[in-house]
Symmetry: C2
Subunit: 204 residues, 2 copies
DNA sequence: GAGTTTCTGTGTCGATCAGCACAGAAATCG
DNA sequence: CGATTTCTGTGCTGATCGACACAGAAACTC
């Protein structure tokens, strides 16, 4: 691993983490190169040499976000024996993470590129794909719950996953508007109290 | 009303409506002056003379949005005799409006300035205030339902209003991601099936 | 008609955007 | 040691941002 030329003077992982925090707080388009370089402690050519472009840096930041902030959710959905406990765990984690002190408010995947210019449509679509992947993961967990008898046969697992995803995404908007963790938890209380009704709901 | 000087060559209301549609579709920051002038059919000095600035134009566009798109929701909350019917009407209206063909997807108040640079913080705060106003209106309607006996005494009307607001805001994100009106309606089905559980939920 | 007022269209302002050219600096290899 | 390779920092690029100066055009009042 001994590089041939002059070694990099900054830690790539640390710089990427700083970039992620800025993108998380300000979103993709509202973050300028100067915001990034000053937060990462490097000059712009170093950024381009190490990450390629602003867009490539953002996608790496999203991956890092998924690997760190998203890990507890993935673990809950795959490891907890009860689907209801798993979904509640995901919601509780979001309520805590979305409003945590010192950090940006709300989920980066939801908020970082909801509205952006057509020139940056690839960035928006990239996050939209990530959001759909989250819904898919929850839907598969609910299907398993049906197979295991935790949820009644015939449950519309797809609609149920969309419902809880909708609540999660709404919570990010609430957090960005200043809602406290306690306030988000009250919403989680209600979303979970509705579990049986949500599972048993028909398409009207 | 006879103006003294040269009369305006464009219809102010029509131009404002066009501006609203652009802001609705692209958000505040992603919309450039050129987007606005070409959509409104006027040159930039005419825009500044008639509306003051990009920010002032946006705020007028938000008022127009409230007066048109938001009117059915306000009417439902004030006129329908049942709070449950009123909230369901609001949700159904959102499901239809958020995913209507030919128009922008999702609610403008929710999506037009979720993430923007610090320079445009006033715009973001303006929309956040509007969002809180919507929650407040629903909370007052639920309080009335408690007074009238439709909801049990001791119902946490504030938390209940926040819950349904969260669902509405999440639906806008879903619509922006391409969810159909039918898909949003399935979420409404579940949110309304949960009515009694949501009303009776405690703070865990 | 002349004078006044207001709007329109062209052209451009300084600031800022993402991105890169270039040369000097710091490491390894022979 | 010299040669090579890679990174760093300064400073710039064309493009675009929101906003406006200016002069001509079109209505009014007298």
């Amino acid at each position: 691993m001994a590089g041939r030329g002059r070694p990099r003077a900054f830690d790539r992982d640390t710089a990427l983490r700083r970039a992620m925090e800025v993108f998380w707080k300000q979103g993709y388009e509202a973050t300028s190169m100067m915001d990034l370089t000053s937060a990462m402690g490097i000059a712009s050519p170093s950024l381009y040499a190490a990450f390629g472009s602003k867009e490539a840096l953002f996608k790496e930041a999203v991956e890092l976000y998924n690997a760190t902030e998203g890990a507890p959710m993935t673990r809950a959905l795959t490891e907890l024996p009860s689907a209801k406990d798993a979904v509640e765990s995901v919601l509780r984690h979001n309520a805590r993470a979305d409003a945590q002190e010192g950090g940006p408010s709300g989920c980066m995947i939801v908020l970082a590129a909801t509205n952006c210019s057509t020139a940056n449509a690839p960035v928006r679509d990239h996050l939209a794909t990530r959001r759909r992947a989250g819904t898919e993961m929850m839907a598969r967990r609910l299907e398993r719950a049906v197979r295991e008898g935790e949820l009644p046969a015939g449950t519309d697992t797809e609609a149920m996953a969309v419902f809880y995803t909708t609540v999660i995404q709404g919570m990010s908007v609430q957090a960005r508007d200043g809602a406290s963790s306690a306030c988000l938890d009250r919403t989680v209380d209600r979303a979970m109290a509705a579990w049986d009704a949500v599972a048993g709901a028909s398409t009207a």
